[in-house]
Structure formats: structure tokens, C-alpha cells
Amino acid sequence: MSEERSGAAILVECLARQGVEFVFGYPGGAVLPIYDELFSDTRIRHILVRHEAGAAHAAEGYARSTGKPGVVLVTSGPGATNAITGIADAYMDSIPMVVITGQVPTPLIGTDAFQEADTVGLTRHCTKHNYLVKDPEDLAATIEEAFEIATTGRPGPVVIDIPKNVQIATALQGDGPAPRKKRYQPRMIGAPEEIAEAVEMIAQAERPIFYTGGGVINSGPKATELLRQLQSITGAPTTSTLMGLGAFAADHPDWLGMLGMHGTFEANMAMNQCDVMVCIGARFDDRVTGRLDAFSPGSKKIHIDIDRSSINKIVPVDLGIVGDCGAVLEQMIACWGDRKCRDLGEWKARIAGWRARDSLAYPPGKDAIMPQLAVERLFALTRQRDPIITTEVGQHQMWAAQYFGFMGPNKWLTSGGLGTMGYGLPAAIGAQLGNPDSLVIDIAGEASIQMNIQELGTASQFRLPVKVFILNNEYMGMVRQWQELTYESRYSNSYSDSLPDFVKLAESYGWKGIRITDEAGLDAGIQAMLDHDGPVMVDCQVSKDANCFPMIPSGAAHTDMLLYGDLVGGTMEDEAKALV
């Protein structure tokens, strides 16, 4: 039965019909009508964050760990601008998200009214799509389209800006979906002849490699299974981007580890030397390719991506297949049939040779814990609980990617494209809400954690037992490392001065605080963190000058990796310095 409802009530009804369990938000003048609707609604749980960036990252963490869209609700002006970092982050990493922003009433738009910001203008280039809704009549259809756009095709954030008078004015809302024209139709499956060509190329390959990315995770758990299936029938060695970790099991003999700037020697060498590269849901990011004119010079390249603009954007490929990773993998498996793969013994022997370089080896700590060891121990002591790991941004993020083994999808949440410090804690909160029985750990740096430290309060309020494991090296370590390699160790503003006492800070929010200062106390400290039934912050004090290797310095080729122990000059050409 149709019912006359206010815009705010239509919104809440639409969210409930979409199956939304949580809204991450923060109130303010321009969203008061919506907050009043939420007050008595029993279907949707509002999670009050402490800063709107936290709301957006929490929604990302929820989305990435559950596969469902994250929903954010913030007020106009500063509420919307605060959320933008998280929106931009979701855009870069293709995270499904719907952001509702309040706006000043329509007659005041454009008058520089109190808390007015041009939210649609500001978010135009960091959303997949955005709307300003000027009439409650249009609201239901807009919200339904927003969810469809956010969650299908290449996922991404969608902003719906709703002026306050539109929240109060009424319109008739029917029981079923609102009528609207269907204008968004992403291409899901590959053309049969392209699939056949791809299968033929792989079957002929002497040195194939699968280079997989976040697209496999975004496509859903079935894509992960299909990837593993295609790998097992083709035997292709497999590497992954930062965003794709977990799609392929880290303990599989054909797993090469992560590739790219801080990837393993074997992954990067195999990328360089392969004869057929199959890129599945990755996008040839500069962190992955290194110097472009030296990127995998001798290979034929196949690129599977749901976003046609990703194909040939950076690296020209021999065969582009536009489609969903899962659907295309399924087509390829069917097309492969009962072929036999070629004998890849020689190729795998070469890879074994590169693997023998043991590129993740690191020297023992002299008087402090090596951060790499801390991650290895964290992995060893938690792996049977199949934890969800989030990170902040910096060296600790790369060490987590390198030394923590990911066995399945949706367990690894990190800010890849935008590289946003402050992502990890709110993302862990979102992930914990979506996965109440999982162990959720934010592997953090002492600088990054301070960027959204206020979210400690959110975890306390909602009784979320998240763990924050800080690799405290008293430096913005990644910045320090670049200064060491590029600017002759002039450590300009990269020392983390005036740090808080993290244990006391944790305690003041009602968290448990633990400090680990030496190797002897490492396992016990981690165990104490795991044993506590509630949120815990661990200040793990690690070596201050450890570096993250292997490393392809900016502007260098895959074959020019620096490993631990290599001598570095501490200076760089201007051309290389100019690269990010």
C-alpha cells in the first residue's frame, strides 16, 4: 500500500528495504529530520563515530569485509567535507558505498548559507556518481539507483545530497521498487572469441603468470574459488597486488607473494620474464609496474577488467576482456575443458632459483624487536583464528602485506590506491560490526594511528573487541626510509615527536593497553592481547631504523630490486625523484 511519507522517512524506508544493517554517521543541523526518523527505527543500527572521516572508513571496512555496501550519513558543509577523504579512498579502491549528506534547504543553495558546501561539486571526481535530490518524489528511485551503481559493475562510492526541506516535504511511496529507467548496464561476460583466444594463449605459454588484483575480491568469494580452479588446471604461478591479497592462498606452492615496489624478488622477476601475463582485476598501477618501458618486455598480455577504461590505460595489452572477473574466469574454465597444460617444470625451476634469494630475509634485531618479526609472530599466533587484518599506511602496512599470510578473501583491508593514514582503526570498527565473531586487528604505525585516534571511543561505545597493534618505530618510517634513500638521510620532519603514552591513552578510553619492549616479551604480549575479551591497544616498540625491503626504487625496473644488505647511495636522479 502506498503511503505519504516525509523525505526523511522515505530515505529510512529505502535503506531498510535495501537490507542496510548499519549506518555510520554523525548528526548535525542539516540531517536532523533523518536522525529523528532513525530514533524510533528498529531495523537500522546507527553507529555514531567521532569524526566523519571515521564514518567513511568504517563503512569501507564493513563493505570490504562483508561484500555488502557501506552506508554513511553526515551533515552538510563540514560533515560532508570531513567525509571526503574516505569517499576518495573508496573510489580509488573500488569499495561499494552510499553516502547520504544533508544539504541546506533548496531556496538557500548558492547563497553561502550556514554550513553550505557544494557537496555535489566537491565530490564529483571522487564518486562513481552523485546526486542532488530536489524533490522527495525523486528520492526512492534515486536511492535505488544509487545502491545499484555502488554495488554493480566496478563498485564505488555514490553520494546523495539531500536538502533539509526535501527531508521534511512529503511524497507518496509505494510498496515495491520505484519506477525508473534502467540506464546502468555494466558488461559482465567476455565475448566467446576473446575467451577462446585467452585460453589458447595460456595453453601455449611456456612461462605463464597470473597477476591478480582487488577486482577478484570485489567480484565475490566465488571469483576466488574460480581463480584457484583455473590456476590448478593451468599450473600458472600466481602473484597479486596489495589489494588482491587473499584471493590466492599464501601457503600454495605456486604463490609468488605480492608483486611491485615492495613485492618479492620471485614475483617481480617472474613478471619480468614471463611469456604470457594474465592480469585479472588489477590495473597496472605505478606501484606495480615500476619503470614502464622495462615492464615485462617480452610477454603477451591479457587483461580482464570490468572497467573498460582500465584496459590499455597504462600498459598496452594484446588482449583486453571487459567483464566481471568471476564470470570471465568461469568462461575460461569452461573453455579450457580437459586440455592438458604444458610442462612448466623449467619455468618453475627458474622461479625456485629466484625464490632461493629469500628476498624477505631480514637481519636479526640488535637491541630492539624487528618489526618484520613482530608481524611474523602475530601471524603465527593468530592464523588458526583466520583474523581480519586492517592497516594504516606506511612501512607497517607493507610488512603486514609481506609477512602476514592471507588464505582467503575479505580478510585484508588496506588503503591501497589513496594510501590514507588513519584508515585502519575505523575500518577495523566497520569490519568488527560486520563480522562480530571474527578477530579483527589493525596493524598500525604510531604516526598513522593518531590520524583517527578519536575512534577509540566508537569501539568502546559499541563494545567492539578490536585490537590495534602498533609497530612503534618512533618515525614516519616510510618517509624516513625515502629520505634515507633519496635525500642522504636528511630526516626532515619525519620523527614522531611528543608521542602519547599509548597504554594510558587506551586506558582512558576504557581499552586495555599493553606495551611490548623486547623480543622476550613479544609472544606473551600478543597472547595477552588475544586473551582479553575487549578492545586492546598494543604499543609494540620496534627497531627505529628498520627498512622495508625488497624495494624497487621509484623509476627503476622490476629487475633492479634493492634487498636487505644492498648498498644504497642515498641520492637519486631528478627524474626518479620526481616520481611519487
Binding site: V120, R124, H125, H129, L132, R183, A578
Partner: protein, 171 residues
Amino acid sequence: MKIQHRASERHVLTVVVDNEPGILAKITGLFTARGYNIDSLTVADISEDHAISRITIVTGGPPQVIDQIQAQLERLVPVHRVIDLTEEGPHVERELALVKVRGTGETRVEALRTAEVFRANVVDTTPESFIFELTGSSTKIDSFVGLMRGLGLVEVGRSGIVGMMRGAEGA
């Protein structure tokens, strides 16, 4: 270190879009955000119910960039399709110009004579000035405007290019 620039080729794109607020900002913003050029842009709604607009963009870049521009435009939700006229083959390009010329005596006569050669229409006239209306390819308009410079040119307004494929098929 010096900044390097890359060679570029000219392409005419037709973009069919939903006629909704902000669509032009989305498109022009995409060009600035990704560092693409716009040499000319025209837009008008073309459907009976005013729901669809047709945008013609003249842009330039290396082939890979042109392909990216098309792909990036297609990614925008309100964009229905993008046709690269330059790539598709034979097509017609037209532009309209209004050209105001002031003069008396021999220059005035010469301006009028030149306009006849170019088949420009006189759309406004005073004892000492004309406004000519001229439609044609951009090069034709360029040369007409060039000749008028010596004959008392006051101002020029140009519409930018609209384009269409030759032959019976619709875009």
C-alpha cells in the same frame, strides 16, 4: 630536469548523454582532472522530451589518450554512448560564426563581396556595419575571419563544432 610534452592528433567526439544537472560539469571536469584538452565543445538537447543531449567535443592527444578519453567518458553513468567521428570514418563537421565588420566606402563593398564568395548571410546591417552569419568547416571560417581582419573586423562569435557521420546510419 625539464618537463616533456607529447605529440597529439585531433579527434571529434560525439557524446550522447542524459540531459541532467551537472552533466556538463562532470564532462568538462573529467577533462581537466585527467589532463585532457578541449579545443571546442558544443551542447544542446536533441530529443523530443528534452531528456537527451548531444555534446560534440574536439580534443587532441596521442592515440592511447584518445582511447582513454572515450573510455573515461563511457564510464560516466549519464553517458549513453561516445562516438569518435575521426576514428569511425567519413563525417561532416560544421561550425557557425557571427562576424561583425565596420567600415564605409570601398572596404564596406569589399567585405560584402567577400561574404558573397563565402556564401555568408547578412543578418544585421547599419550604414557603417554588417553582421555576417557563416556556416561551414572551421578552416572556412578561419579564412573568412582572416580576410575580414583587413576589412574592419570588430568581433567574432563562433559556435564550436557539431559533427555527424555520413551515410544512412544514426549514431
